[in-house]
């Protein structure tokens, strides 16, 4: 069996309240009391301030710190954390003067150590504390000192604060508060642990589970709750956004293909625009080239024309020369006259004409005009020179033609290229215009479609976000479940001791057989988005009807108020007994008789007295009304007379003596004083209950 955590429980030893209006009367301006080991009672009547005083004691320990509101209503339900109330007004509201100057101071024993805590009752601001007589004043930094004090109190209770802080575990503050609030103080607004599985597990964890594991569970639980809350909040927001998006999507056409088409058309337009620019540039280039070539062609044509004319001239001259060289016209005239064809001009066939012509020819004279025709001597044959000149001209004309031809060819090529570019440009421009028209048409649709895509993307992002949080949450759930599972061993080891203690307490005041059973598989979930896991838990079984063996598990609604109260009290006492082992502890019970049938009062008194005396040093602090129910006498053991009356008186704080006088007390002073004496000292000889006019 693992060693149990040695928690040290605070026990009240002294209390003083001063300047607090509810406890000021003509005779007394303050309360100043010592508390004895064993039973201590705060007695009074309705409205005299019993509850307030128990709360003063309670608040001296926990200060103005509280768990989350939901956790107060159902302990163990929410995050394991305490929050400081910035303006604590519980006591202020109960004082006519606003408790401006009221202070309270309480001394507690934690084992061998004592701590005295002083707070303002106006708002619980810490005034100071004294540990084993060493005073620390909070004047300079009340808040910081209060935090220190809280750590100190947790440390005194046995939490390894230093180690916890090193591990960033802060649950000891909540755990300390939980022990004080839900185990030690059994006040009227208490939440029964036996009927509240969440709270039950928390107290089991604090009391029984290894401290480090306990811290881990607490932290894991906090993380889980935080993750759960985050997840749910995000899920809620996501669902809201999803609804909006879905609504918007429903109003939009489902056109993913339009977007695709639009994308294609956009890139087509871009490509065609680029192509058009390129073709235009090409065309302009060819156009410039053509201009250049046209000019060159014009020049070349002029040159070719000139050279051609020259050629014709030279050629004609050469041809004429060729004919002349072969046969001169003079020869023709002679031939015609000789052959009796007669004169080529007039047809005269006379012989003298022939002779005259031949004579003239022989003398190198023209037979027609008689001019001199003899060529100058020494001049070379004219024909060759003309031929050479002609051939030179032919070469020139040839190269001029060649140049022109090549320019023409180039012009045709460029012209073809120009026309091709132009026709391509025309075609491309047409296609571009079509594409632009389609782009315009698709743009509107695509805008909507883009929105659809965008919204769908948003949905995906939302889902991913939520899924991320969910997986985070799942990791926390998993870790927490494993830790809870590991904690079962610790609870299970002590379960029988708790069951035995419970049975002992329960049997003393229950007629029915009441049994506590342990189970390690009570299904419950701690957050909203998790699945139930198995928890270690104690459940109450009652015998029903004639069947005497307890078989029926019961919940709080199935038992009477008295039973409910006592089952829970018995459970707490059992827990305290097991957790404290042989160490002294304290139990603070508010008006135990309040919900008890008269039959149970005696039993309850005996039970509580039994607790008070179970360990030397145990402190039972109860408040009780001065009624005829005998609860006070039962608690003090007045009837048995185990202590002398003064000792019993020392165990009681009669608020009627110190509190502001109430109307009821004024009217029935004798009755209440009589009741007090009867309860503390013993039954009076002359019972004067009739004078009270109850």
């Amino acid at each position: 069996m693992s060693s149990l955590r040695e928690l040290v429980f605070p026990r009240l030893s002294e209390l003083s309240v001063s300047g607090y209006e509810p406890y000021v009367n003509d005779h007394s301006a303050h309360i100043d009391r010592s508390f004895l080991p064993g039973v201590n009672l705060i007695v009074g009547i309705n409205g005299v301030g019993k509850t307030t005083l128990l709360n003063v004691i309670f608040r001296m320990l926990v200060g103005p710190y509280d768990p989350a509101k939901a956790d107060r209503i159902r302990p163990g339900r929410k995050q394991a954390t305490v929050i400081r109330s910035s303006n604590f007004d519980f006591f202020r509201r109960r004082a006519a003067d606003g408790a401006q100057l009221a202070t309270a101071s309480a001394t507690f024993r934690f084992g061998e150590r004592t701590i005295k805590i002083t707070r303002s009752l106006k708002d619980l601001t810490l005034i100071g504390y004294a540990l084993d007589g060493h005073e620390t004043l909070a004047a300079i930094d009340p808040l910081g000192t209060d935090e220190e004090l809280m750590d100190l109190l947790a440390k005194l209770m046995g939490f390894d604060v230093q180690r916890a802080k090193a591990r960033d575990a802060v649950s000891y503050r909540y755990d300390f508060d939980f022990v004080v609030r839900n185990l030690i103080f059994f006040l009227e607004d208490k939440v029964p642990l036996i009927w509240n599985p969440d709270g039950q597990y928390v107290i089991l964890r604090i009391l029984l589970v290894d401290e480090e594991l306990s811290e881990d569970i607490s932290a894991a639980r906090n993380d889980l709750l935080r993750a759960d809350s985050q997840y749910r909040n995000r899920l809620w927001a996501a669902n809201k956004i999803r609804d909006e998006i879905t609504e918007r999507l429903a109003a939009l056409p489902d056109l993913p293909s339009e977007v695709e088409q639009f994308g294609l058309v956009v890139s087509e337009v871009a490509n065609l625009t680029k192509a058009c620019e390129d073709l235009k540039e090409q065309r302009d280039f060819f156009n410039r080239e053509m201009d250049g070539i046209d000019n060159a062609i014009l020049h070349a044509r002029a040159e070719a024309f000139d050279s051609q004319l020259a050629l014709r001239r030279e050629e004609a001259a050469y041809f004429q020369q060729a004919f002349r060289e072969v046969r001169t016209p003079g020869d023709l005239i002679i031939q015609a006259l000789q052959s009796h064809e007669g004169c080529l001009v007039c047809g005269n066939t006379d012989e003298s004409a022939y002779r005259r012509a031949r004579d003239l020819m022989e003398r190198h004279k023209c037979p027609v005009c008689e001019s001199d025709t003899a060529p100058p001597e020494g001049i070379p044959a004219l024909g060759d020179a003309i031929l050479e000149r002609l051939q030179e001209t032919e070469r020139k004309a040839g190269s001029a033609r060649q140049l022109l031809a090549s320019l023409d060819q180039r012009s045709r090529e460029i012209g073809d290229a120009y026309r091709s570019a132009n026709s391509d440009l025309f075609e491309t421009t047409t296609r571009l215009r079509h594409a632009q028209r389609r782009e315009d048409q698709l743009a509107t649709q695509a805008e909507k479609s883009r929105l659809v895509v965008e919204l769908n993307k948003q949905l995906e992002d939302l889902d991913a976000d939520v899924a991320g949080l969910r997986s985070d949450l799942d990791a926390h759930i998993d870790r927490h479940a494993k830790l809870v599972h590991a904690s079962k061993t610790f609870v299970e080891e002590r379960s029988q001791a708790i069951i035995d203690a419970f049975e002992r307490y329960a049997s003393s005041f229950m007629v029915e057989d009441c049994e506590l059973r342990y189970r390690s598989d009570r299904p419950a979930k701690i957050a909203q988005s998790d699945e139930p896991i198995d928890w270690p838990a104690f459940e109450v079984y009652l015998a029903s009807g004639a069947d005497r063996s307890p078989t029926e598990r019961v919940d709080a609604s199935a038992v009477s108020e008295s039973q409910k109260e006592f089952i829970d009290l018995a459970f707490r006492m059992a827990l305290l007994r097991v957790a404290a082992e042989k160490r002294p502890s304290m139990l603070v019970v508010e008006t135990p008789e309040a919900s008890l049938d008269a039959f149970f009062v005696g039993k309850a008194g005996a039970l509580l007295r039994d607790y008070a005396s179970a360990e030397p040093g145990n402190v039972l602090l109860a408040s009780s009304n001065l009624t005829r129910e005998q609860m006070i006498a039962q608690l003090l053991g007045t009837t048995e007379g185990l202590e002398d009356p003064e000792r019993r008186r020392a165990r009681t704080l009669n608020l009627l003596e110190v509190a502001r006088e109430t109307k009821a007390y004024r009217m029935n002073k004798g009755f209440y004083d009589g009741r007090y004496e009867e309860a503390v000292v013993g039954p009076l000889e002359d019972d004067d209950d009739g004078s009270g006019g109850e």
């Binding site: 070719a304 024309f305 004609a316 041809f319 060729a322 020869d331 023709l332 047809g347 040839g398």
Partner: protein, 211 residues
């Protein structure tokens, strides 16, 4: 040699060259004396086929005279050649007679000497070669109908060309288009050479006539 950029067509000295080359070649192939009608016919073939071979046309316009082509300016030049003794003629009359005709022409030795001289020029060289191919093609034809195949020629087949009408063949030359088709007609990836293409054209006309 590329065609000349400007078609002078029918320039008198070149026309005399054409006539001398035609008569020279006809003489060589045994076609002399060449009747006036055939001489004009050969000149016509020269006119319609020269564009196919990238050459200058001897005469730019065709006159349809008695169902045959006739070129008055060429007739002037032939008379000049006859008068100067470069071309012989079967009928010799006085220059003063107007519009006389001859049964046949042939080139004289002086004409041959002149033709040789003209071949020394670039124009003379290419023109004489073309004329040689053309007359050789013509000489291959059946002598009986050689003069008549012109009726199958695209220009002469054209009903729009009436007697006495003149057609500017620089502007419109269906015969050249037909000849071009023949010249570009390739057999087994080979196109006919210039001489073959001319011969093929004559064969084409003859085949049409036969059909």
């Amino acid at each position: 040699m590329e065609a000349e950029p400007i078609q002078f067509g029918g320039s008198p000295h070149r026309l005399q060259g054409w006539l001398l080359f035609l008569l020279e070649q006809a003489g060589r192939l045994g076609l002399a004396p060449v009747s006036q009608e055939r001489l004009h016919l050969l000149l016509f073939y020269c006119a319609v086929l020269t564009p196919v071979h990238g050459m200058e046309q001897p005469v730019p316009k065709i006159l349809k005279h008695r169902d045959r082509p006739f070129y008055p300016e060429a007739q002037e030049e032939i008379l000049s050649l006859v008068v100067r003794g470069f071309v012989g003629t079967t009928t010799r009359e006085a220059v003063s007679d107007l519009g006389w005709e001859s049964d046949g022409y042939w080139v004289t030795d002086d004409g041959l000497s002149v033709a040789e001289r003209l071949k020394a020029t670039s124009w003379g060289k290419s023109t004489s070669r073309f004329v040689r191919d053309l007359v050789m093609g013509f000489a291959e034809l059946d002598p009986d109908d050689a003069d008549d195949i012109v009726e199958q020629d695209a220009l002469f087949r054209d009903d729009r060309l009436q007697r006495g009408h003149i057609r500017d063949i620089v502007k419109e030359n269906q015969a050249a288009e037909a000849a071009k088709l023949v010249a570009d007609y390739d057999v087994d990836g080979l196109k006919p050479d210039p001489r073959d293409s001319i011969a093929l054209y004559f064969e084409f006309l003859q085949a049409r006539r036969a059909a």
